[in-house]
Symmetry: C2
Subunit: 322 residues, 2 copies
């Protein structure tokens, strides 16, 4: 067990702090402190120990540890409980399992790598260890099943705002669930629900983002954030921004409905106003038309060449070359 109190003392301290002082603050022996320092070092923390000076935290490991996620995170419920794994087959399955077994709204299920990361419709999401951000959130809103896509909208907006804030990147949303940077897909959202007709029991919002992935290891036309900005990115800070924006948007949705979310979504949309080709689930023939707007349940309104407007709730689109 990591001693997070000790770690937080080291994180707050800019210089060296003596074993004696730590001992006084935590009420544990200096031998115990030394043991905990070793544990932290084993987790990848670089900690200097200098006689007569004490300890100093030099650097953090590139890990999304729960105590790091929670450190200074102002959220009320999103990410307050963290289930952290080195490896999972998929954070989605673990999250749904936890949600149906009573784990509360806001719990974050995060894995450093996934062996069977999923995209929509059973597609694979490559999830190499320590390279990307792969997580699922447990949400239990009082909504009807058909409103579930709103959670996808909220997530997409939160991710775009976090990318803007942390990296200055202007990301875009390709309906329904892709995050694009420079027209390359760098992230995806997968929203799954467990519901009866009158009530959603649980929604699992899954996010996968290619952060520091090696470009060569990704299928075309995927991109990575590292490629977009030109340097290794701090995954932890990005994750915390996403969680923070997610909670903001979600609370806003609960208090004021979906209008403001839709406005922000439109702002980040790469799809609206474009001519698109639609492969609709359950229909053999693709449709071509212009993406006009998004509606309050996350459906895409498309004006077909016939002049009719079709509302689409599921399917794949490709943006036609202009």
């Amino acid at each position: 067990m990591v001693n997070t109190e000790l770690l937080y003392i080291l994180k707050r301290e800019t210089g060296y702090i003596s074993g004696e002082e730590i001992s006084g603050q935590l009420g544990i022996t200096r031998a115990a402190i030394w043991k905990h320092i070793q544990e932290l070092r084993n987790l990848g923390y670089d900690i200097a120990a200098v006689p007569h000076l004490g300890y100093k935290l030099l650097s953090l490991p590139d890990r999304l540890y729960p105590w790091e996620i929670k450190y200074h995170l102002k959220n009320k419920f999103i990410g307050k409980a963290v289930y952290y794994y080195e490896n999972l087959s998929s954070t989605m399955d673990t999250a749904m399992d936890l949600a149906l077994n009573g784990v509360s709204e806001g719990a974050l299920i995060i894995a450093e790598g996934q062996t069977e990361g999923r995209g929509r419709m059973g597609r694979l999401w490559l999830s190499p260890k320590y390279k990307g951000i792969y997580f699922s959130l447990i949400i239990k809103p009082k909504i009807l099943p058909q409103q579930t896509p709103v959670l996808t909208l909220i997530s997409a907006v939160a991710i775009c705002q976090a990318l803007k804030r942390h990296l200055g990147i202007e990301a875009q949303i390709k309906w329904p669930n892709d995050i694009l940077v420079d027209d390359r897909k760098v992230g995806g959202i997968l929203t799954e629900m467990n519901a009866e007709m009158d009530a959603v029991h649980a929604i699992i919002v899954g996010v996968g983002i290619n952060v520091n992935n090696d470009k060569g290891a990704l299928p075309y036309p995927a991109g990575t954030l590292k490629e977009a900005v030109g340097y290794e990115i701090n995954r932890l800070i990005l994750l915390k921004y996403i969680l923070s924006y997610f909670e903001d948007k979600y609370l806003q949705f609960q208090r004021q409905g979906v209008d403001r979310i839709l406005e922000e979504w439109r702002h980040f949309s790469a799809t609206l106003g474009k001519r698109i080709k639609l492969s609709v689930v359950g229909k053999r023939q693709a449709l071509i038309g212009k993406a006009m707007d998004i509606d309050y349940d996350g459906g895409l309104l498309v004006r077909l060449d016939s002049g009719l407007t079709e509302r689409v709730v599921a399917g794949d689109i490709s943006h036609c070359k202009q």
Copy 2:
């Protein structure tokens, strides 16, 4: 482990069958047969054993044993796998758990009693042991989440047809999920799904029917089938009819779409044409209007007094006195 081969031999035989003959057919010793006979007796089978004559099955226990459900059931997949329990908290939870862990379409999860049987929106469904029929079916159709209510329609029609065939009862369907006999609720359907926006992963259709329940133990205005016909009902036969009709309807839906199901649903509907009061989920004010029709996704079309027609997908209705 019950020896179903031995049981089926006894079931097929109208008179006595000698231990020697059974021994020849099954290739086991007469001592082993005796042991299996004792096991069957322990399960409630009344089996006569007469020297020089042999064995004769006199009566079956009032139990929904898997081997009894499967006996002569012509279904291709509904009820081919049976998970049988004396007691469950709820067949819904066990079924969803099995479905998400790879159990195939058509599996039947059945319990003689439920300690926390559920109706819609977390309501309790009283499930006293051996009195009613409580089961869930695992369905994995290639449909979108919004089509899920069709499974409720299919179940309701299957139950009404089974009641007509087995008991001559003219049951009715109160939208969205009640089965009425003589205006009393004798059964309910609960449909839950696990889905992403583009695809349903699994649907669990749950059915609870008050069969031989003691009337006094039920909350008003519930009714029981026993009360309606005046005698103890064979639960096993009724269950098998329901499973058989369910498969018929479901295959019909897959081959030809929902039209025929809707026709049959309209025939059994207690709601259509009636003046109803609607409590819509998420709306504080109840609506009053006339129930006009059901649509292809199971939504109820209601003509309000304002003249507007509203499509309702979730909520409670009460039929107004005419």
